[in-house]
Symmetry: C2
Subunit: 111 residues, 2 copies
């Protein structure tokens, strides 16, 4: 695999290896833009700590930030997750569930 | 999500965030057990360095090691990858490719 792709995967997996950052992405999963302060509010940590996590997500390309006046809004960008998925999917023959069953399983859990 | 699941995901994503560890898993992907020395041979680093990477993979449950006399053999264990996949799949509506197309795409690349 080409070097820059490897480096991008390093950043993606590393960014996902933290429960706060996964929680931030889960909150953005609804698809709507959220302000940094709205994202930070329910978290048991300081705003600067949340902003550091957002920096890591942004460096990995997992979120996009935009400034509107004094408000910074965040939006999910799932392209790096798709690349992570492409890497993981190579091992699917070792899994117990097929991709199709996995997708259906998650669909039923959402209801 | 339950705490221990979060900790397991932390370890999995963190273990995958390194090109050497991903390369080790890719070599084990053929499905056959490999000895530590066979795994280490093509890598541009010392045997102890490789063994540290194998420790990380083992702690994350991504490989299993077994001792036969003086040889330690490694085998892939993809269950943690399946859990990582289950986490990533929640974001599939943001991806450009459906799971089915993704699987087919990878199939054609292998040929």
């Amino acid at each position: 695999m080409v070097k820059y792709q490897e480096a991008a995967l390093d950043r993606t997996f590393s960014a996902l290896a933290d429960p706060t950052r996964r929680a931030l992405l889960a909150r953005l999963e609804a698809g709507e833009d959220m302000s940094v302060s709205d994202l930070a509010r329910p978290l048991p940590m300081s705003l600067p700590a949340v902003m550091k996590h957002l920096d890591v997500l942004s460096d990995a390309g997992l979120i996009q930030r935009a400034k509107n006046g004094r408000t910074v809004s965040c939006r999910i960008n799932a392209a790096p997750m798709e690349d992570a998925m492409k890497w993981l999917i190579q091992y699917q023959r070792f899994w117990t569930m097929s991709l199709e069953r996995l997708a259906k399983f998650l669909e039923t859990r959402k209801k």
